[in-house]
């Protein structure tokens, strides 16, 4: 928690930085070179482009009706004002006038209709498609007014719309090019290497504080760190291994920031099958694993412990780290009560990339203490989707879940882990149709407490979100919620 607060204070401080830095002689033409491990697979966020496209394009190249700020707030972006009908089923949005796409076309209500329908379309691979399922129709009322009609209340609609890029309806193919309204336009994309953005001269809002950004892509963390060490990039968007941090943390030429992350490392059981359909077994496993020691082993002083699937940045967070906390003695008792006094054995499907193999070994040792025998089966990321996510053919698995506000997965009994509690399903389903934000938060808070008590999965820890930059670079987002990396406030002094 202390780190989290440090991160949040830093976030507040950084918001003030751009103005201050300009006074100190920031170079408005400096091109910011960003190093990242997440190259987009293509340029369309509804075509399976991966998290890299959110990093490069959200808020930079494309804008949405609403914007998820780095601090977690949702603010109006291409909307100047909106009205919600009495029954909460009709939203009327007034659009920002005088906005043009990078191709020169003006933004109209028709573009918004097209953009929303693109995400809800049958072929859409958007990860937010299901959260927009309540949308019944989208209509252009006039040039700058859009009306969205819902089949039932959806209190998070503005938040969900922050994931919907507004794309020119005349744009033909956006898997290899773009036509958005953001402060930058795409200059060049060299696959496997880099993607460069330059300021869009006719941008409707405030112009970027820098002369453009280049995302340099790496497949290996070592190569990425070397690039920062040698000055080939100015900033790296997320450090994925703690070993490399030492060389930056003690060096005045670099700034290390830890922000609030939403990436949860968890061991998911197949809750449909024996013995994991037994609450006592799941509780026993949670109590047999010392999460604190695990986090310490992997991240040292970084990272945060969590007691459930909800990170502190979600509005329905409650501190549940004491629920099913480490207690091997009671773990043994629970196992005996559940009918496994001598333990049992299971296979843990473990993705082959860091940190999962180390986590698996740690769990194997911890569970051996209480008599549970874990067999580690290493699989690739692709197999994970095929075997576990689609076929649901597994006993237990490790995975990092990156999304913001994703407790909804516990309200879906068909989800890969198959957690099926009617009370939780009802709470999560009705939360979305709440009349007020407070009502929604309260319902989700309750659901959160239930899944924690029932140990629906074992939430091991929250990854730290670490950004490292050269000391003369400031103004970057530090939380990177939903993998976003807004570049327009970044400045570099000479």
């Amino acid at each position: 928690m202390t780190h989290l607060f440090k991160g949040l204070t830093l976030a507040a401080a950084l918001v003030l930085v751009p103005g201050a830095a300009v006074a100190q002689g920031a170079d408005p033409d400096a091109v910011i070179r960003i190093g990242s491990l997440y190259e987009p697979q293509n340029l369309d966020n509804t075509a399976g482009a991966g998290q890299g496209i959110n990093e490069a394009f959200n808020g930079n190249v494309y804008e949405a009706l609403f914007q998820l700020q780095d601090e977690g707030e949702v603010t109006e972006q291409l909307v100047t004002d909106y009205e919600i009908s009495e029954d909460g089923l009709t939203y009327t949005f007034s659009l920002q006038p005088d906005v043009t796409f990078h191709s020169g076309d003006p933004l109209t209500a028709e573009d918004v209709v097209y953009s929303i329908e693109r995400v809800t379309a049958e072929t859409s691979q958007s990860s937010r498609k299901s959260s927009l399922a309540t949308i019944e129709s989208v209509e252009a009322i006039d040039e700058l007014t859009v009306e969205v009609t819902l089949s039932e209340r959806s209190i998070s609609l503005p938040y969900n719309l922050s994931y919907v890029w507004i794309v020119n309806d005349a744009a033909v193919d956006i898997t290899a090019s773009e036509d958005g309204t953001g402060p930058y336009r795409l200059d060049d994309w060299r696959r496997g290497s880099s993607l460069s953005l330059v300021p869009y001269e006719n941008y409707w809002g405030e112009a970027p504080s820098n002369g453009g950004v280049v995302f340099n892509y790496f497949t290996e963390a070592t190569a990425l760190n070397n690039a920062l060490l040698t000055g080939a990039v100015d900033i790296i968007t997320s450090v994925q291994s703690p070993d490399s941090l030492a060389q930056f943390a003690d060096n005045p030429s670099f700034t290390v920031t830890e922000g609030a992350s939403t990436t949860k490392e968890l061991m998911a059981y197949n809750d449909r099958i024996e013995p994991f359909n037994n609450v006592k077994v799941r509780q026993a496993i949670a109590r047999a694993i010392n999460d604190e020691q695990l986090l310490e082993a992997i991240w040292g002083d970084y990272g945060t412990l969590i007691g459930s699937f909800v990170p502190p940045t979600d509005p329905w967070y409650v501190d549940l780290t004491d629920v099913n906390a480490y207690d091997p003695e009671s773990a043994r008792e629970l196992l005996a009560e559940a009918g496994y006094p001598d333990g049992f054995s299971f296979t843990l499907d473990t993705p082959n990339y860091d940190p999962h193999p180390i986590v698996a070994q740690f769990i194997q040792n911890e569970l051996a203490e209480v008599g549970i025998d874990v067999e580690i089966n290493i699989i690739t990321a692709n197999e994970w989707y095929t075997k576990i996510y689609q076929a649901q053919d597994f006993e237990a698995t490790l995975q990092e879940h990156v999304n913001h506000r994703d407790i909804v997965f516990y309200g879906n009994p068909d989800f890969y882990w198959g957690y099926d509690n009617p009370e939780v399903i009802e709470l999560i389903a009705s939360a979305e149709s709440s009349a007020t934000v407070e009502e929604r938060n309260e319902k989700l808070r309750q659901a959160n407490i239930i899944i924690a008590e029932e140990a629906a999965s074992d939430w091991l820890y929250l990854y730290p979100q670490i950004v490292v930059s050269a000391a003369n670079v400031t103004g970057y987002p530090i939380n990177g919620l939903n993998s976003q990396f807004y570049a327009y406030d970044i400045v570099k002094t000479n």
Binding site: A176, S193, N216, F218, L224, N226, F409
Partner: protein, 300 residues
């Protein structure tokens, strides 16, 4: 063959398109898009028919035409391979000859020992060493990456390739050197060299006039194999140096089960390897007249 091997790998190209939260409808759509919902036999027919038309298709994941992508990547991989190869020859041939001719001197032996070491070290380790020394500590050269403009900025491009070239060349030179050395030793012990010297030619003169040509024949066939290996070995080096070449494209495509990209890369690299073999053969025939006319050599 390739088709079967790829399908034997667990996983599904559709998995690269979806993310956590995808509903069954989205998964079905992804499978339809990449064709993995079709029976294997039908997938095979599609594969064969496009191969016959020399159509490498479009990537499942990036949706870019495969051939175009492969050709872009080759503008990096081919210069990288050829330059490393040239550097390796430039180092290995003179050193190999010296090591053979002066085998009894301390430096002759030293060259052999160092080359043994070079063979034993894995290529990625050489790369890491060079990066640590020349990029991180001395700051002389970039640690990795390739300029966004590519060869549009030739100086930056060459600087980016210097360490990768040196890495491949060191390892390749080490093994080449041994072949050159043993070929030279063979020549040194041959009758014709003794005859040439008996006829009054100096040692160096007879070695240059008679030795090199004879020694070159086995070396050239090894060179062909080495060049082909270097082309395929670029996979590792491109990863260490974050270079957007053919090798990194292949690795990513395999991870994502992006079959069209995998098939495209392998098809083109097989073609290149065959071409290299063909030219190595031609070179041998050019050097050794006996190979040009097999019947003639029998009569000799």
């Amino acid at each position: 063959m390739l088709f079967i091997l790829l399908r034997l790998l667990p996983g599904d190209p559709a998995s690269s398109l979806i993310s956590v939260g995808a509903d069954p409808e989205q998964i079905a759509a992804a499978r339809r898009q990449v064709g993995s919902d079709l029976p294997l036999f039908e997938q095979f027919i599609h594969f064969l028919s496009s191969l016959v038309r020399l159509d490498l298709g479009t990537s499942f994941v990036s949706r870019a035409p495969v051939l175009e992508e492969v050709l872009t990547r080759l503008t990096l991989t081919i210069p990288l391979t050829l330059l490393s190869f040239a550097l390796a020859i430039a180092v290995a041939v003179p050193l190999g000859i010296v090591a053979a001719v002066k085998a009894d001197k301390w430096y002759g032996a030293a060259i052999s020992v160092v080359s043994q070491l070079g063979i034993a070290i894995p290529v990625f380790w050489v790369g890491i060493l060079l990066v640590t020394l020349f990029a991180v500590n001395l700051r002389l050269l970039p640690s990795g990456g390739f300029p966004p403009q590519g060869w549009g900025d030739p100086v930056a491009a060459l600087r980016a390739l210097t360490l990768p070239i040196a890495t491949i060349a060191i390892v390749m030179a080490a093994s080449l050197l041994r072949y050159v050395r043993s070929a030279t030793l063979d020549v040194l012990g041959s009758d014709y060299l003794r005859t040439a010297r008996a006829l009054g030619a100096g040692f160096s003169e007879s070695l240059v006039r008679h030795g090199i040509r004879n020694g070159a024949v086995p070396v050239v066939s090894i060179l062909g194999i080495e060049l082909a290996t270097a082309l395929l070995g670029a996979v590792v080096i491109e990863r260490v140096f974050a270079l957007p070449g053919l090798g990194s494209m292949l690795l990513l495509a395999i991870e994502q089960r992006d079959y069209p990209n995998v098939q495209g890369v392998l098809f083109i690299s097989t073609l290149l390897v065959l071409l290299i073999g063909f030219f190595a053969d031609l070179a041998q025939r050019f050097i050794d007249p006996r190979l040009r006319d097999p019947h003639g050599s029998v009569q000799k």
